[in-house]
């Protein structure tokens, strides 16, 4: 049993994931949390002056706060960083002044402070709409890169154990990207949007998803995961059981706090808060030299936990716990024994039945029944079908339960045909291109049975399974393409196609060239893969109108061939035309914004004077004019609301357009691998800063260019 070392109730709401503990005066710790109404409160238990009533101080931000973090941006003390949807404020609490205040157009969805990559100082890393920025202590932007979608979670972890922090970025496209410097070194697909990421120990890191899953990765391999129907609010890691290995600690919407072993995911401790957990922090909050795990609840409950010290616990307490543990172990062993007895009894029964005269075959399926499975493309329905077939007339498929990540709306699909037959097609429509292992439970029995045999199958759905191979000339070649050359042989590329696509026959490739045509069943978009040998190398052309698709293919091919660097030429006239429009929009929205701001200021002034006049009239008892002024006020108010709506729409459109820009850079980067990839990002950023749009297009096309 885990007993809190201390427990407080602050009577202040704490926003989810927006709490931090820092030594803002360089000496004693204080807790800073975002609360309601755009405010941050500071709880300073070690502040002696003013007594206990004065432990809470407020900072007014007056905007919706989206992130609260702290860190040693200054050498002598921690700095409080507050992010909103449009800016980042670094605040020196002790001196009550801003260290810097930056406009961050992409918003601050998540932030953290720490040493990163080769920078010799601590950086404040900020993740927004598809972009990641790094600021130094003076507020200058020293680092910028893009990612696939809105950033939801950030964490530092030394995944490759080279002594330097990598940055883990969980984004809304369900991917964790691992950045070393400005380059993405790895991507890990997951099943849902991220809630949080946390480094655990060495190359291990934990993750939490919106759908209630938490789990742990060791480098790029998932060690374990568990799912709950509650939603997870925060994760952190700390060695609470004192065995030398940090555990993964999770906080949940029902107030539960769980400590799970990093290696097995087994629950070590549990505790319950009275309200949903808002954040889990690690700090020496008592200022006695021992680090605690501090768990904050959304209603302001704060609990601190110390690692279990076996020596310190009294003998009585230990033995009390001991018995319940033994009883629990006893119950578990009894359960295990029962399960084994069940299996044994099945064998015994089966033998007994075999001895008896020919067993009734009524519900029992023939002994040699198999269930075969394959994946077929169903072009009419636009799905790829998982086809299951029994090898025997007497055995029909009553139902199928398929479990798979990321391809269903929820985690499973249950198919129950009205008339069971030997064959059953399960329509699959993966929402995105991803290789998944399907866990299939096929219920097979006689035609009238009520007890079924469960066949368990596993089948890997190829990454690009929703692409149907078509004949040459079935569609016009897409006008857009990406080209690059690799020093590989054609058969190797054929092998890649075979493993990634759902091909019935090997791709029609002569030894010298490879040409394969596909149709994406999701949006009926054509795709052409062509490889021709040129001067000892192979020139590869991927023709598709979708840059995302091309990027996905390039990344996958490079990984398959083990290429570290790959430069390419991108020719996407359609996408570029659209991008040009987006850039125009950004300009237009920016202009509108400035103009509207001016209008708004005018209207506010007029409003102010009207109120004064109206109140004057009221005090003077002149009811007629007062009524007139208030009527005008009401009119103006209505106009203002209308204006505000317009402004809000404009702002939303602007943000959307900016997101598009970032995504375009990301798409362009994904058409390259390794060094050239990072170069595209850096050059694009420079071009945007210099407002050199012509160069931007050239960079996207060639992956290089002067800025």
């Amino acid at each position: 049993m885990l007993v809190p070392a201390f427990q407080l109730h602050l009577n202040e709401k704490i926003q989810r994931a927006q709490a931090t503990i820092g030594r803002f005066d360089g000496k004693v710790p204080a807790l800073a949390c975002a609360t309601v109404g755009g405010k941050v409160f500071l709880h300073q238990p070690h502040q002696q002056a003013g007594g206990p009533d004065n432990q809470i101080a407020y900072l007014n931000i007056n905007k919706q706060i989206s992130a609260v973090v702290s860190g040693r941006l200054l050498s002598s003390k921690d700095v409080l960083l507050v992010g909103t949807s449009a800016n980042l404020q670094a605040y020196d609490v002790e001196l009550n002044r801003d260290l810097f205040y930056k406009d961050v157009q992409d918003g601050v969805n998540a932030a953290l402070v720490g040493p990163y990559a080769s920078f010799d100082q601590q950086l404040a890393i900020v993740g927004g709409n598809c972009s990641i920025q790094g600021y130094s202590a003076d507020g200058s932007e020293v680092f910028w890169t893009v990612t696939g979608d809105n950033v939801a979670a950030l964490a530092f972890c030394d995944v490759d154990q080279d002594g330097r922090n990598e940055l883990l970025v969980g984004s809304d496209d369900f991917d964790v990207r691992i950045f070393a410097g400005e380059d993405v070194v790895a991507e890990v697909p997951e099943a849902d949007t991220f809630v949080a990421l946390a480094a655990v120990v060495g190359p291990r890191f934990g993750y939490a998803l919106v759908n209630g899953t938490i789990g742990l990765y060791d480098r790029l391999d998932r060690v374990w995961r568990v799912k709950s129907k509650h939603s997870v609010c925060a994760i952190a890691s700390y060695d609470l059981d004192g065995d030398g290995l940090p555990e993964l600690i999770s906080g949940w919407s029902n107030g539960r706090m769980e400590v799970r072993r990093a290696d097995t995911g087994e629950v070590v401790y549990r505790d319950h808060l009275s309200c949903p957990v808002a954040a889990i922090l690690r700090a020496d909050y008592r200022n006695d030299g021992l680090e605690q795990v501090v768990v904050c609840g959304v209603e302001g409950e704060v609990r601190g936990y110390l690692p279990l010290d076996l020596e310190a616990a009294g003998p009585g307490a230990a033995s009390e716990a001991d018995f319940s543990e033994q009883q629990a172990l006893l119950a578990e062993l009894a359960q295990r024994k029962q399960e084994l007895a069940y299996e044994l009894a099945s064998y015994a029964n089966s033998r007994a039945q075999a001895k008896e005269a020919p067993p009734e075959r009524g519900s029992v399926i023939p002994p040699d029944t198999r269930v075969d499975s394959y994946i077929a493309v169903n072009r009419e329905a636009g799905t790829c079908d998982l086809v299951l077939r029994t090898s025997n007339e007497q055995a029909v498929i009553r139902g199928v339960v398929v479990f798979g990540e990321q391809i269903f709306e929820q985690e499973s699909l249950f198919v129950y045909p009205r008339n069971p037959d030997m064959q059953l097609a399960v329509p699959l429509k993966p929402l995105k291109d991803v290789a998944v292992v399907l866990m299939i439970k096929v219920l097979v029995g006689g035609r009238t049975a009520s007890l079924f045999h469960v066949f368990e199958l596993e089948i890997e759905l190829p990454k690009f399974s929703l692409y149907a191979a078509v004949e040459k000339g079935a569609f016009a070649e897409p006008e857009s393409n990406v080209q690059f050359s690799v020093s590989e042989r054609i058969p190797r590329l054929c092998a890649w196609l075979e493993s990634r696509f759902n091909l019935k026959a090997p791709p029609a490739g002569r030894a010298d060239t490879l040409e394969a045509y596909f149709l994406c069943l999701r949006d009926k978009a054509p795709l052409l893969v062509r490889a021709t040998p040129v001067e000892g190398r192979v020139q590869v052309t991927l023709a598709t109108d979708s840059m995302d698709m091309a990027g996905e293919l390039v990344g996958d091919l490079a990984a398959y061939l083990g290429l570290g660097d790959l430069a390419s030429t991108a020719h996407f006239p359609g996408a570029m035309r659209a991008f040009k429009e987006v850039l125009d929009q950004v300009d237009a929205h920016n202009v509108t914004r400035l103009r509207m701001n001016a209008d708004m200021a005018d209207a506010s002034n007029a409003l102010k004077s009207l109120i004064i006049r109206a109140e004057d009239a009221r005090i003077l008892g002149a009811m007629g004019p007062m009524r007139k002024y208030y009527r005008q006020l009401a009119d103006m108010n209505r106009d203002l609301i209308v204006e505000h709506d317009k402004r809000a729409t404009n702002h939303a459109a602007l943000l959307e357009a900016l997101r598009e820009v970032n995504q375009m850079i990301q798409r362009a980067a994904r058409l390259r691998v390794g060094g050239p990839k990072g170069r595209v990002v850096a050059l694009c950023r420079a071009a945007i800063k210099a407002n050199n749009m012509a160069a931007l297009f050239k960079i996207i096309r060639d992956g290089d260019g002067p800025v």
């Binding site: 309601v36 109404g37 755009g38 007014n60 209630g212 799912k227 709950s228 129907k229 033995s319 001991d322 018995f323 033994q326 172990l329 006893l330 119950a331 062993l333 009894a334 359960q335 024994k337 029962q338 399960e339 084994l340 069940y342 299996e343 044994l344 009894a345 099945s346 064998y347 015994a348 029964n349 089966s350 039945q353 519900s363 029992v364 055995a395 009553r398 339960v401 269903f408 709306e409 929820q410 985690e411 499973s412 249950f414 198919v415 129950y416 045909p417 009205r418 439970k441 219920l443 009520s450 007890l451 079924f452 045999h453 469960v454 368990e456 506010s604 409003l607 109120i611 108010n637 203002l640």
Partner: protein
């Protein structure tokens, strides 16, 4: 006072039926008591525990035909150590050595669920029939009007004059005398377990002659009933505020708390076990509780593992026999580091048990636990080896995995029950082995609800209408889960079926399907009387049918009815209440005439439709007459109205919430808002939660009122006024409309209809105008708030 009890796992049987375990009486020598248990694989075993060692007195071989469905000890003087059991329609007697000395084939068609033996008397209770045999000859027979859930015999008229007492599904405890009911005591809910307690809990000795029985109900309450030859008196009741499972078994024979009165041990269907203490004032308090993961099928007690203290023993569904002993009792082993033998191999004098050394017991218990764990581990590894050997043999034989899966003793206990308080159904599935997944299929739209105690993850599949599956879902269990509760809401009107495919987590993998039908009036539950003041509609069906025909019709529509008409009766009367709306239904029928009375027209509509179909299928001529009551329409609408209004308000506040929260964020201090809005802000999370939980509830209620209206029109012979339905829709969804508006709409239409059907459209237009005004009125306060906000911005 809190009790401390220690758990000991004794043995493991196969899955068992309810009431198939008993503790044998104390013998004269100083020996622990033996425990006898039967299970569904047909094994009967009897074992004892001596100084921590398990000794099996006997164990029979499994046999599929002899599934043990009841196991008791004889009640006659010389029979107390004889085991009697029922298997199918057979009753057997086995002595303590395991020798069968008695066998009696009752020739009954029903499976015997409970047997009782007193000297030459045998009482057997089946599904509906209760028999009394003397020396193998029929003495009495009673055919119960509804299912017999449990039965016992009580010496009501003298120590040798035993009378049967039955717990029946139709909410009666019946006391029989011969073949006739002596009297029946109504119960608040269906009694599911019954226990005669010789030492009655009557602290004030008010009824020294009365015999006590305790019965547990399917809603989880426990009631004391004091029986006398002429009448019964209800004693204390254990309420069930935490909504725990049904009381599956009761035992009272040990005084753990040393109050002079035996404690009552209650075993529940959801695995809960509680020890209760009766206080002077007649209040029951829980002194010990523990929660197992499977249902408790039998409870008994005695000196089982030690002679120092009595303990209670339970038999769980999957066949675990577990005892709970108080401090001082139970399994204790000498601690390993202190050898208990003296230097010459002589036993040291044992310390007097009255004054054990402090901490010594703890040490012993610790050692005993270590030993138990060690023993289990050994058993497990032995089992593993056996399985390994079997597996090799199986493969060598060219094993048939399908057949293996079919021979798995995979049993599932399930129940689908209406949760009247919440107007939803709960399907509980309990399996002897851990469940991997339960896949649910239904041809009706089921709204799956969350069950807080479930750890299973629900995943809905999109409905597949081409195959007639309107609901498809899977529940994936994590850890090792043997029990799963699936809670869902369903609409009345159409018969539907529900199948649950249970896939176990361990091999061999067989999948068992459990099916339940949901009848058209599925939200109706039986009540014993009806509120006569309500205005009712009447549906009268006459024709040349028999009473049995009508009974057949209505059993197809309503749950909770006996499967056939009680014998010797030509007609019956039943009362029901709709758990969602609180409306009532009375059914009164005899040959040639069936009368249905309800304050809700829709109910009659459904009944009418169903009965007509059944009658047509049977080629029977019937005449239907309907006597509607306009007041009843109003009355039933008024019943639904508060709920509708609540849901509408909820929706409105939910929509408002966002705006209000933004205001608070902007201003920080929202004290200028009206108290109403401030309270909305304070309840923000609750409102959100409520709204999220019941997004379809409002639609459900609107559909209900519409159905009501359409049914009313249909049954009164008015052509369905399709054109008016959109207007009704609007009226119902508009948060400004009042009950009066609605009533006017519903009845006004009737008036107009009577005068001139052609003008039916006109009042509709008028109807809309005031309702529109109402909605504006409701929007005004929010607009005001916005103005204020703008002012403050300056």
């Amino acid at each position: 006072m809190e009790l401390e009890l220690f758990r000991q796992d004794l043995i493991q049987t196969s899955t068992c039926a309810a009431g198939t375990m008993a503790v044998m009486p104390l013998t004269e020598e100083k020996k622990t008591q033996k425990v006898a248990a039967g299970d569904l694989s047909g094994v009967i075993q009897c074992f004892s525990v001596k100084k921590g060692d398990f000794q099996v007195a006997f164990k029979t071989l499994p046999s599929k035909e002899n599934k043990v469905t009841s196991l008791v000890l004889g009640k006659g003087k010389t029979q107390r150590d004889k085991i009697f059991l029922a298997a199918g329609s057979q009753i057997k007697g086995v002595n303590k050595k395991g020798k069968e000395f008695f066998r009696f084939n009752t020739q009954l068609t029903e499976t015997i669920r409970r047997v009782d033996i007193f000297e030459k008397n045998i009482w057997s209770a089946g599904e509906y029939v209760h028999n009394h045999f003397i020396e193998g000859r029929d003495k009495a027979l009673y055919l119960c009007p509804d299912r017999i859930n449990d039965a016992t015999v009580v010496p009501l008229a003298g120590p040798t004059e035993l009378w049967p007492v039955l717990a029946c599904q139709d909410r009666y405890v019946r006391v029989l005398r011969g073949s006739a009911v002596c009297y029946e005591a109504p119960t608040p809910a269906a009694p599911v377990s019954l226990q005669y307690v010789p030492e009655s809990h009557d602290p004030q000795h008010r009824f020294p002659q009365a015999k006590e029985v305790l019965y547990g109900t399917d809603v989880g309450t426990l009631v004391q009933l004091l029986l006398e030859p002429e009448a019964a008196r209800q004693g204390f009741t254990l309420p069930n505020p935490k909504k725990q499972g049904a009381v599956a078994t009761v035992y009272s024979g040990i005084d753990f708390t040393k109050t002079g009165m035996n404690n009552i041990v209650v075993g529940r269907e959801d695995g809960g076990v509680e020890v209760l203490d009766l206080e002077e004032a007649g209040q029951l308090t829980s002194v010990y509780s523990v929660k197992l993961t499977e249902s408790i099928n039998a409870l008994d007690g005695g000196f089982v593992t030690g002679l120092l203290a009595q303990e209670f023993v339970l038999h769980s569904f999957s066949g675990k026999i577990i005892s709970y002993a108080p401090p001082g009792g139970g399994l204790l082993a000498p601690p390993p580091e202190a050898p208990s033998r003296g230097p010459l191999g002589l036993r040291k004098a044992a310390p007097p048990p009255a004054a054990p050394l402090p901490g010594a017991e703890e040490e012993e218990r610790r050692a005993s636990y270590a030993r138990q764990i060690e023993r289990l581990r050994q058993e497990i590894s032995a089992l593993r080896q056996e399985i390994e050997a079997e597996r090799t043999r199986f493969q060598a034989r060219g094993g048939d995995t399908a057949q293996l899966a079919m021979s798995a003793p995979f049993t599932v206990q399930d129940k689908c029950k209406l949760e009247a308080d919440e107007a939803c159904y709960v399907l509980t599935i309990e399996s002897a082995v851990p469940i991997f997944t339960v896949a649910i299929q239904s041809n009706a739209v089921l709204q799956m609800l969350d069950v807080p105690t479930n750890v299973a993850i629900l995943s809905r599949s999109p409905p597949d209408e081409s195959n007639g599956n309107l609901t498809l879902a899977t529940y994936r269990c994590q850890d090792s889960t043997n029990r799963l509760a699936v809670k869902f809401k369903v609409r009345e009107g159409r018969p539907s079926s529900l199948s649950a495919f249970v896939i176990p987590a361990i091999s061999p993998k067989a999948c068992l399907v459990v099916r339940h039908t949901i009848k058209p009036l599925c939200l109706h539950s039986r009540i014993t009387a009806m509120d006569a003041d309500r205005p009712t509609n009447e549906l009268l069906i006459t024709g040349s049918f028999s009473a049995g025909d009508v009974h057949g019709w209505i059993t197809g529509v309503l749950h909770d009815l006996p499967p056939s008409l009680p014998p010797g009766q030509d007609g019956a009367t039943y009362y029901f209440t709709n758990s969602l709306l609180g409306t009532q239904l009375m059914i009164k029928y005899r040959a040639g005439e069936a009368r249905f009375l309800s304050d809700l027209v829709s109910t009659l509509g459904i009944l009418h439709e169903h009965c007509m179909r059944e009658a047509t299928n049977a080629k029977q001529r019937v005449t239907v007459s309907f006597n509607p009551s306009a007041q009843s329409l109003q009355h039933s609408v008024a019943l639904v109205w508060p709920q509708l209004e609540k849901q509408r308000t909820l929706k409105k506040t939910y929509m408002m919430l966002e705006g209000l929260q933004e205001l608070r964020m902007q201003d920080g201090d929202v004290s200028y808002l009206s108290p109403e809005y401030r309270s909305v802000l304070d309840r923000a999370d609750k409102i959100r939660q409520e709204y999220k939980e019941q997004p379809q509830h409002l639609d459900h209620l609107v559909a209900l009122i519409k159905d009501l209206y359409l049914d009313f029109c249909k049954l009164t012979g008015v052509a369905t006024p399709k054109t008016r339905i959109p207007a009704l829709d609007q009226l119902l969804l508009d948060p400004g409309s009042s009950l009066e508006d609605l009533m006017e709409f519903l009845t006004g239409q009737r008036g107009v209809w009577a005068l001139d059907p052609g003008r039916g459209v006109e009042p509709e237009a008028e109807e809309e105008a005031p309702s529109g005004g109402g909605s504006q009125g409701s929007r005004w306060p929010l607009g005001q708030a916005t103005v204020r906000e703008a002012e403050r911005e300056v």
